[in-house]
Amino acid sequence: MFEEMRRGAVANLPVGASVAAYGSVLGMLAAQKGLTWMQLLAMNLSVFAGSAQFVMVEMWAPPLPVVEMTLAVLVINMRYLLIGASLNPLFQGKSLTHKAGIMHLVADENWAVTMAAYRGGGATTGFLLGGGICLCSIWSMGTLLGHQLGALVIQPERFALDFAFVAVFTALTVSMWRGKSDIAPWAAAAVLAVAAERWLPGKWYIVIGGIGGALVPAIQAVFQSKSTACKKLPETDSRRSIMEKTK
């Protein structure tokens, strides 16, 4: 387990530099809005979701709109429902405590790194946790430094740090490619995500692109099985039970 955690932590270091830089920007904004470093740390450790934290800090003005804030976080983080679901095979046969403990530290970055490694046969829940601990530490350090000293990098764009996320996720996406069967679902996902990002607020584009793309092979499978299932229809369970009831 420990060796797996170490490997997961190391695998997440490449994206760590930009996580720290953006953390420092959040820390600076939080200080301007009057959050103490303790409150910021509590947020980092308990929420641990970058884009949601940015929105919370943006909405941070007394009296705090607690309900609106919670709803905004819920909507922005809706993608975690899908991300959690996609981790199902990795957690096969693990206890509920194990799942409940590790799922807290799942962010976009360590999830993506883990799924790519899992495809290659080299990832466990320990790998996922190690990445989560690594990112949460870097994120917390970045935000606290930003809170105390101001942003580490004033113009992250100048050093292409804004592109670091795109670059990492692009590289990881390549490793998820399974072959020609991915062409249709991936094309659907890309078109839906770009369109949704343009016309819908928040992070809906991830949910819409993810579900829309994955529905393509699912619908194909349903149509394939329908042609064979049609012949067996009279023997389905529901019909049998209805027939037994009428007897």
């Binding site: 929420v47 919670t70 819920l74 996902a189």
Partner: protein, 104 residues
Amino acid sequence: MTHVSATDLSIAMAIAGAALATYSLRLGGLLLAERLPKNGGFKRFMETLPGTILLSLVAPGIFSAGMLGGAAALATALCAWKTKNVLLAMIAGMAIVATGRLLL
């Protein structure tokens, strides 16, 4: 005094609410997936999902980054494909964008 404690309470509630919402989604997704059927359309859906989520995360970013971003993303993808090295691919992509912005 009571005003201060009311503020403190609302801060605690805001952070706790966000934490609870986020954690419920994370764990809820995992636990929900166990209850889904493991055959046919659902199986195909779940197998395809990681790739389509990742692509959806990144596609709008590439699209809005313009020509330079598109070229850099393509270089990153090719580098990742050939070397299987995420760090190297990331550095290649960032170098192209940084140089491009310096020159353009």
